[in-house]
Symmetry: C2
Subunit: 129 residues, 2 copies
């Protein structure tokens, strides 16, 4: 297992964990078929509660990323199980709208904003190793 987490503040722990796992998937650090650390194991190594891990895993399962088996653990699904549908695209667009409004209003012009978007995505691709 390769996930390292730094759970500081602001967002809920389970939310941070979900984002870290999605990030790990995005950069190829987690791949189809991999078994995630058990809820007790990860809870222990992060010094947080088992149920917090379980909540994250289950939501990721609902969103198609994982399959959770009693007795076995949480396994990464194949990407076709969670490739974007219309609903997902809508959500991504809504989130982009909030961020781009915030950027524009703060005088980040279009060119600079798009450069930030490009670099952010490119960084994900660069981390396939």
């Amino acid at each position: 297992m390769i996930i390292k987490l730094m759970l500081e503040s602001e967002k809920p722990l389970y939310q941070q964990l979900k984002e870290k796992i999605i990030y790990a998937l995005a950069i190829g650090e987690l791949e189809e078929g991999e078994i995630l650390p058990s809820v007790r194991q990860l809870a222990s190594s992060l010094s947080i509660n088992m149920h917090t891990i379980s909540k994250a895993y289950n939501q990721l399962a609902t969103e198609g990323f994982l399959t959770v088996h009693k007795g076995k653990g949480a396994i990464v699904n194949s990407s076709d199980k969670y490739s974007a549908g219309e609903e997902d695209i809508s959500i991504i667009k809504e989130n982009l709208q909030v961020i781009s409004a915030e950027a524009k209003v703060r005088s980040v012009d279009k060119k600079i904003f798009l450069k930030m978007c490009e670099e952010t995505y490119a960084e994900l691709e660069g981390k396939k190793d």
Copy 2:
């Protein structure tokens, strides 16, 4: 006053309101010097509580967007009061990282993602009227 709101679900009301106001600023529907509706007025027209409006206004004031005067109301600041500093840029980048990871993991390729970014920002500019 020109702000129309539809406050449905998920996010906290005050958060939704903040985002709507920032959006209104981004598309030029709200401009420097404009006075926002009074907390009681807006609360009444949205059928929510006065303090929820007040919370949104105050956070927007803390972030530089508004100045709130007792007896007068909430007034839109000049944009130099809230143009992005390093801190703001960091936050925008973090948010972009979360979204782009979600997009990439869901098989939205770079080209399509950047098109979405471009269109979303362009839409804001298109609404200056």
